[in-house]
């Protein structure tokens, strides 16, 4: 693990990306200490432009945009990490089970995976969120987790299928090792890089998707997150009245955090798979690495 970390940081792209991500995590954790005001406290006049007192200006409700962005990072990143973990967990569980046991189990799970992949994700999440009505951040994390694991499962299954043919897996099976041990001790360690890629890509996807769902008005408007900031800015026509700073802050953080994650993922990809270092990138892996799914 230490070896992986040092190799990763030796890569300038990865080091830069990791620094951005670490900075965001630190800012989110320290938000209550460093934010100039409480996120929902009225501390300024409506739509004050950026000034020395309010570095990122104020909202229509006279709230400090910088404080909202810092506190919003807590929600957005927590949802991203939770949903990313859920997506990865389900994807790996389904993919490994499907690839390792084969036969009927594989057929059933592959069918399920393909159905999840072919039903359009965003409309499905919108229907779910609409029925739940004003979904809180954790509910949104759950919705994202349970609808978006298809790509991870497909890629992990393919890799498991190829690993399963290797001699060391065969040897473990011939020694009579139970299936769980073969999976846990022989297969999973060889899937670590793939799982890591999947996790980082999923976090990126989840942060963006949460913001999108909340922007569309499906979130709980009382929660402070980057998505609800965009929602409030949109519903008070911030752009139309020239208060661009209300939109700029969450947009900028989304871009920065996303770039940081995708840089790490790209470097991780190159390190884990030396063949990719030249220029070969498989479309499936790329979809994982950028958090953008074709389906």
């Amino acid at each position: 693990m230490r070896h992986v970390a040092s190799t990763l940081l030796a890569n300038p792209k990865a080091a830069f990306g990791a620094a951005i991500v670490a900075l965001f995590l630190a800012l989110a954790l320290l938000a209550p200490v460093i934010a100039p005001a409480a996120p929902n406290q009225r501390v300024a006049r409506p739509h004050e432009p950026p000034s020395a007192e309010h570095v990122m200006g104020s909202t229509r409700m006279g709230r400090d945009v910088l404080s909202q962005t810092l506190h919003g990072a807590r929600t957005s990143l927590a949802v991203g990490l939770a949903a990313g973990a859920l997506v990865t967990l389900i994807g790996v569980a389904v993919g490994v089970t499907s690839g390792y046991f084969g036969g009927r189990v594989d057929e059933a799970l592959s069918l399920l995976t393909n159905i999840v992949l072919v039903i359009p994700n965003l409309p499905l999440m919108l229907v779910l969120a609409a029925f739940i009505g004003q979904a809180g951040p954790w509910v949104i994390a759950g919705i994202i987790g349970f609808t978006s694991w298809g790509w991870g499962a497909r890629v992990v299954r393919a890799q498991t299928l190829s690993l399963r043919q290797r001699d060391f897996v065969r040897a473990a099976e011939l020694l009579g090792e139970p299936a769980l041990r073969v999976i846990g001790w022989e297969l999973l360690p060889n899937l670590v890089s793939l799982v890591g890629l999947n996790f980082i890509g999923s976090v990126l996807y989840a942060v963006v998707t949460e913001a999108t769902l909340e922007f569309l008005g499906l979130g709980d408007p009382l929660v402070v997150s980057w998505g609800t900031m965009l929602y409030h800015a949109q519903s008070t026509s911030a752009l139309q009245v020239g208060a661009w700073w209300e939109m700029a802050a969450p947009c900028l953080t989304l871009i920065l955090f996303g770039s940081g994650l995708s840089l790490v993922n790209f470097a991780l990809d190159e390190i884990a798979n030396p063949r990719l270092r030249t220029i070969r990138v498989k479309p499936d892996l790329l979809a994982l690495a950028t958090g953008r799914r074709p389906a």
């Binding site: 359009p120 919108l126 229907v127 999108t212 008005g217 220029i279 070969r280 498989k282």
Partner: protein, 325 residues
């Protein structure tokens, strides 16, 4: 043939899952499913419309399996019920009114992104390591990390609000009467520029990267070396030999992503108030118009399945092994 039948069987199963999901969701929510489903409708619709709506969604005085069959009968005859928000209209009429705008938006943007992205990818791969490649390839990767929502909002602010070059929303100037007059067509074109370009931009990076990698993988092949040895000119070798073969994965991914772009267009349409399916869905969500929201899911699933079926047909035409199997 067997291959195609198997695929079609799978698509029917997938569609059935989406329909079942629609059926179960209101019944799984806490409280009375009829109340959940038609909370907003009670005040908006006359009693006889409410009765029709209940029948369509299987809220009949029968056991659950019969309710399910009743609902499936509605879905497979494509009776999606009445819209609550756009009251006298059925969900079908509301969706049909919005569909042409979305098709126009999605197809124009996708073909634009495909053409530009593929050409850029060919160029970057052919001169890999060159100046264009060194800037273009990382830029394409970064572009994929920018959320479509952010691209749309920035474009709206910069070009429509700050610079006032283009209109801020809707599909044509409200004072014009729809018709084939030069003014109206011009107005539609001006209103389409920003939505089309932003939607194309969100897809561009993917096509550049796919084409570039697919092309680079081919450049080491013997027939390329042979072509060079034969003294073919650079352009012919690049386009007719390398790019033509490298295009296959890009074409498949084009067809596959087309369905997903319908979902991506949703955000673009909401930001630009563009009167397509996405904006209609947004209006449905704000009004809690559940029949409309559910109909939208079915329509989008159908679009996705059609795109996949088209991809299957293309593969079948290209790959003779599939035809034998």
């Amino acid at each position: 043939m067997a291959f195609l039948l198997r695929r079609i069987g799978f698509y029917v199963a997938a569609f059935l899952v989406a329909a079942t999901f629609n059926f179960l969701l209101p019944r799984l929510m806490p409280g009375d499913p009829v109340d959940v489903m038609f909370a907003q409708a009670g005040t908006a619709l006359p009693p006889e419309s409410m009765e029709a709506l209940r029948a369509t969604f299987g809220f009949i005085d029968q056991p659950l399996p019969l309710q399910y069959l009743r609902y499936l009968a509605s879905v497979f005859t494509w009776d999606l019920g009445l819209s609550v928000k756009f009251h006298p209209l059925t969900v079908n009429e509301v969706l049909l009114r919005a569909l042409p705008w979305t098709l126009f938006l999605v197809l124009t943007a996708s073909f634009l992104a495909f053409a530009v992205g593929t050409l850029a990818g060919i160029h970057a791969a052919w001169r890999r390591g060159g100046r264009f490649d060194a800037v273009g390839a990382p830029a394409a990767v970064m572009l994929q990390a920018v959320p479509p929502l952010v691209i749309s909002l920035v474009a709206l602010y910069v070009f429509a609000i700050a610079l006032k070059w283009l209109p801020t929303g809707y599909a044509w100037a409200p004072l014009l009467d729809p018709g084939w007059t030069p003014e109206f067509v011009g107005s539609v074109a001006a209103h389409a520029v920003l939505p089309v370009l932003t939607l194309a931009l969100t897809q561009l990076g993917g096509y550049v990267v796919t084409m570039r990698n697919s092309m680079i993988n081919l450049l080491g092949e013997d027939y390329i070396t042979l072509g060079t040895a034969k003294g073919l000119d650079d352009r012919r070798l690049r386009m007719a030999y390398a790019a033509r073969n490298a295009l296959l994965p890009a074409v498949t991914s084009f067809a596959m992503t087309l369905g997903a772009v319908f979902g991506g267009a949703l955000v673009t349409e909401v930001v630009f108030n563009y009167p397509g399916l996405g904006y209609t869905l947004y209006q449905g969500i704000t009004a809690r118009d559940y029949p409309l929201i559910q109909g939208q899911l079915l329509l989008m699933t159908l679009a996705m399945l059609t795109a996949n079926l088209a991809a299957d047909l293309v593969c079948l035409a290209i790959d003779p092994r599939l035809r034998r199997a």
